[in-house]
């Protein structure tokens, strides 16, 4: 439930073991999993761990584990749709697999050619199904993964974990309401210990909430109460507000689209800085504002961090192997999903007014001088 937000905590505190890839790697190399793998060969667990650790697929087998058409994505898109009950975003998994082939692809680094590699490629008849797959993900972002209530709860979780870890590290465990032996306390003390990480899960965190609600520390008490009683913070969608103000009608030319991008970026940077400043100044215990500014691409064009096998390829009627963004105008036109929201406590009228004032002031000023 909180795995992504937990990774965010790890990023902020530079905790290596908060990254799920790091935990998987350690478990595969040295745990009962590696014991079980030993039957398949002395170095089998190392090979599996190396494959999972790869950043971007190095060969066609890696692409099954990690790519934009990997087994994980094909699974979670169907599972999350089912479990959340959304009726849109369905995919035709059977048709996709029935049209999956292996082809060869020329590769290079920057302008320099390298040679050919094997890649998964979808047959021409799967074009519309592949488009639907990518569009489904585009819709899952706002509808499920970046739903404002979910993100609000995640922001509260992150703030709570950061406070808990800070208290434990400053020898103030007593103020958290947790016993010394609690898994969260043990993790805060030794976050790089694999055992401590494995002992943390949703049940442990949710089970801790009643204890945290009785904490001496006001911030811990309030944030845990918000989660336990589902008194989620109110959300103000700054990006939507900005778009409504400066470009209620969608731009039609590339030039207009770029202008809007630049303008939004400048305004958002300026507003974010001022909101952070206001919150830092006005918060005594609980952060008055929780800012959420992020983006996701439903289909990533070629990225140097992942390599060529990360792409979804389709064969055209002439046998050319193309990137989906080269073949499909819909996929090529999909824009990055961006959000800029700010959360504040229900009833915190000052915070609400400050958000409105800062946003409107920056809008009037044009967001200049923010480079």
């Amino acid at each position: 439930m909180f795995s992504h937000a937990f990774e965010d905590v790890g990023k902020k505190l530079n905790i290596r073991m908060a990254r799920h890839e790091q935990v998987s790697d350690a478990l595969i190399r040295d745990s009962e999993i590696s014991e079980a793998f030993r039957e398949l060969g002395k170095s089998f667990s190392e090979e599996v761990a190396d494959l999972i650790k790869q950043s971007g697929p190095g060969n066609i087998y890696d692409a099954v584990v990690s790519s934009q058409f990997d087994a994980d994505r094909l699974d979670y898109m169907q599972r999350d749709r089912l479990m959340t009950g959304v009726q849109s975003s369905g995919i035709d998994f059977t048709w996709l697999l029935a049209n999956l082939e292996v082809g060869t692809l020329s590769t290079g680094v920057d302008e320099e050619p390298l040679g050919e590699i094997e890649t998964f490629v979808l047959a021409p008849k799967a074009l519309r199904t592949a488009e639907a797959l990518i569009l489904a993900l585009f819709q899952l972002y706002p509808n499920v993964y970046f739903h404002k209530a979910t993100r609000g709860a995640e922001k509260v979780f992150t703030a709570l974990m950061l406070k808990l870890i800070a208290l434990v590290r400053s020898e103030s465990t007593k103020a958290t309401g947790l016993p010394d032996t609690h898994p969260i306390v043990k993790f805060a003390r030794e976050p790089e210990d694999l055992g401590n990480v494995c002992n943390l899960d949703d049940a442990v965190f949710l089970g801790a909430l009643p204890l945290l609600m009785n904490a001496e520390d006001i911030c811990v008490k309030r944030l845990s109460t918000i989660l336990r009683n589902r008194e989620l913070p109110k959300c103000c969608d700054i990006r939507e507000h900005l778009i409504a103000e400066i470009a209620p009608k969608r731009p039609t030319t590339n030039e207009q689209r770029n202008e809007l991008k630049v303008r939004l970026e400048e305004l958002e940077i300026a507003i974010e800085a001022q909101l952070n400043h206001w919150s830092d100044e006005k918060s005594t215990t609980v952060p008055r504002l929780l800012i959420d500014r992020t983006e996701r691409e439903p289909y990533k064009t070629f990225q140097e961090s992942k390599g060529p096998l990360n792409q979804i390829r389709i064969r055209d009627m002439s046998g050319h192997i193309l990137d989906m963004a080269e073949k499909s105008p819909i996929v090529a036109a999909i824009e990055t999903f961006k959000l800029f929201r700010v959360y504040f406590a229900d009833g915190d009228q000052d915070a609400k007014l400050a958000i409105e004032r800062i946003t409107n002031d920056v809008l009037k000023g044009g967001g200049h001088g923010t480079k």
Binding site: S55, G56, T107, G108, V109, D110, V262, E265, E304, K371
Partner: protein
């Protein structure tokens, strides 16, 4: 008053200091990495990715720099069918530039993209993963790129970079 540079200004400054132009996103990332390693960087954090050391923050920063016009980006079709980018600095300011930084960045722009990737990867594996025989591990991880000839060229290019005086010595892997 001295103002702190934003990430996008730092990213754009790398292009400016490399002689005003860098061909290729991979080259851009590896040059930035080598500058960090040599103590001449901008504080970007690098991780091991598909093409060796890579900074997500830097990629976002240069993209943001392009949106705001701090660099120009031209995308061209490569002979092998893919695309590559050319970054050109739009910075006409007379900022005081570190000579060592300029020399290292400019020298690195002359290295072939694959050779630079191999050299930067070996340097990364030594500096961040503590591998003594970093070239062997580089060859193991990048079999499709690390032919004997390319490795020899990568080592020779790295040897030239080692000759440049820098605040931190680049890993002595040769």
């Amino acid at each position: 008053m001295v103002q702190n540079k934003s990430d996008r200004e730092k990213a754009a400054a790398i292009v400016r200091d490399a002689g005003g132009q860098i061909v290729g996103r991979t080259r851009f990332q590896k040059i930035a990495f080598l500058l960090e390693l040599a103590g001449l960087g901008e504080g970007f954090q690098f991780e091991y990715k598909h093409y060796g050391p890579y900074s997500e923050e830097l990629a976002a920063a240069i993209s943001s720099a392009a949106i705001l016009g701090l660099v120009q980006v031209e995308d061209r079709e490569a002979s092998w069918g893919g695309w590559y980018s050319i970054y050109t600095s739009t910075d006409k300011s007379a900022d005081i530039v570190n000579q060592q930084r300029q020399t290292l960045a400019h020298e690195a722009t002359k290295i072939g993209a694959v050779e630079l990737e191999l050299a930067a990867t070996a340097a990364y594996l030594n500096a961040f993963e503590g591998l003594q025989d970093a070239w062997t591990e580089t060859a193991r991880r990048k079999p499709e790129k690390a032919s004997q000839e390319r490795l020899a060229r990568a080592k020779e290019a790295y040897r030239r970079l080692l000759l440049i005086e820098t605040p931190e010595k680049l890993p002595a892997i040769i």
